[in-house]
């Protein structure tokens, strides 16, 4: 008989889940800010910036998140920086999120009819003024559901950071399994915690989609 009750296991998993949530928030907020900058570079008028941002997006989308984690964790150590796992995890997830969000948002910006750009150009607005006052307010409506939907990928992406030793829900599950020898119970509970985090997100994405579509039809 194991000295650990199911409640012991769940309690410890929930403690670890706090780090999953924190890391998700850091990645999502940081990735949102960096992603917005990449979006401006990607859709802007400067050809060099467009090119650089395109390569950035393709590199990150074209390599596994796991490799990016290894590269930031081991790569930065090679360069002589002492990188704690939380830093490498936060950094790589932020960059990974930014590339995907920038690409999702680019699609939304490009869905705005060309006439909106032409009308605001004719009114002497600059690119930033057009984005700020004309394009982004309209793009936001269509961007919210896929953005919230993508946040689910971010939450699940945090599981990979267990590999470089960041103790979040997945890493904690492994550690608890090593102590309790009850892998099915532990991982089963961990999966339920992930589901409890992700399901409300994908559900709200669906609801938002319906709501914003209705709003779009009216105005």
């Amino acid at each position: 008989m194991s000295p650990f009750t199911t409640w012991d296991i769940l309690r410890n998993l929930l403690f670890a889940a706090e780090w999953t949530i924190l890391l998700s928030l850091v990645a999502f907020i940081g990735g949102g800010i960096v992603g917005l900058a990449v979006l401006f570079a990607r859709t802007g008028r400067n050809a060099a910036l467009r090119r650089v941002s395109m390569v950035y997006i393709e590199l990150i989308q074209g390599t596994p998140l796991l490799m990016q984690l290894f590269l930031s964790f081991f790569g930065l150590s090679l360069l002589g920086f002492d990188v704690p796992p939380w830093f490498a995890a936060g950094l790589s997830l932020t960059l990974w999120t930014s590339a995907f969000l920038a690409e999702i948002w680019r699609g939304c910006v490009e869905a705005i009819p060309r006439g909106q750009w032409e009308a605001s150009s004719s009114l002497a607005m600059t690119y930033f003024e057009q984005m700020r006052h004309v394009v982004l307010p309209q793009a936001l409506r269509i961007a919210v559901p896929p953005t919230v939907g993508f946040s689910v990928q971010v939450v699940k992406g945090t599981a990979l950071t267990s590999i470089i030793g960041f103790v979040e829900l997945s890493k904690a599950s492994t550690m608890i399994t090593n102590a309790t020898f009850q892998p099915f119970v532990v991982y089963g509970l961990a999966a339920l915690v992930y589901f409890a985090l992700c399901w409300p997100l994908s559900k709200s994405s669906q609801i938002l989609e319906r709501k914003l579509n209705v709003a779009h039809r009216n105005h």
């Binding site: 032409e118 150009s121 004719s122 009114l123 002497a124 607005m125 003024e129 307010p137 309209q138 105005h219």
Partner: protein, 241 residues
Amino acid sequence: MSLIAITEVRKRFGDNEVLKGINLDVDPGEVIAIIGKSGSGKSTLLRCINGLETIDDGEIMVAGAHLAPDDAHLRALRLKVGMIFQSFNLFPHLTAGRNVMLSPMVVKRVSAKDAEAEARLRLDQVGLGHKFDAYPDELSGGQQQRVAIARALAMQPLALLCDEITSALDPELVNEVLQVVGKLADEGMTLLMVTHEMRFAREVCDRVVFMHQGRVHEIGPPEQVFTNPQTPELQQFLGML
């Protein structure tokens, strides 16, 4: 001195040269209709004047502002000419009033109070003072186009470019827009309009430009162009052949 000076303007889309050396001078207060078959380059010419299309050769000046592809030059030029489009292009997320207020506030840094006063004035001018708080999709096509005119006027342009502004309207809505444009013409606004409304062109315009295959084929006062066309192309376009 002319307000708009177009000199030897050429424009190519790939191998297709759509403007083959256009020369046109527009005096202040002049109302000019540009007519011609589709594909003759008339819309492209209009879009070149405010830099929506880049030109490959030649020169365009509007009241001393020189057309050049950099942002500073474009901005200076666009402060002098407004443009109205076939598809209205109102900002759907803003009310009629906010559509008119936006650019003065953002571009000219006019205070919200002054911009609102100006917007109410301009909407009154196009007969839509009561629609200040209506969203574009609550307005008819004719009303939307009149808001678009008010929006352009709020920037106090020296000239307006009208690109087939009644072509997307139901027939019964065309007149309310043409009336507004006619009133502007009476008040001395410089207008350059691509149009298919021949009757309007005849009654309101000072000069009519007939474009054919990327060139100004014939130009003159409406009586001359419509009643005594010189070239077979214009005669054919007017249905006289």
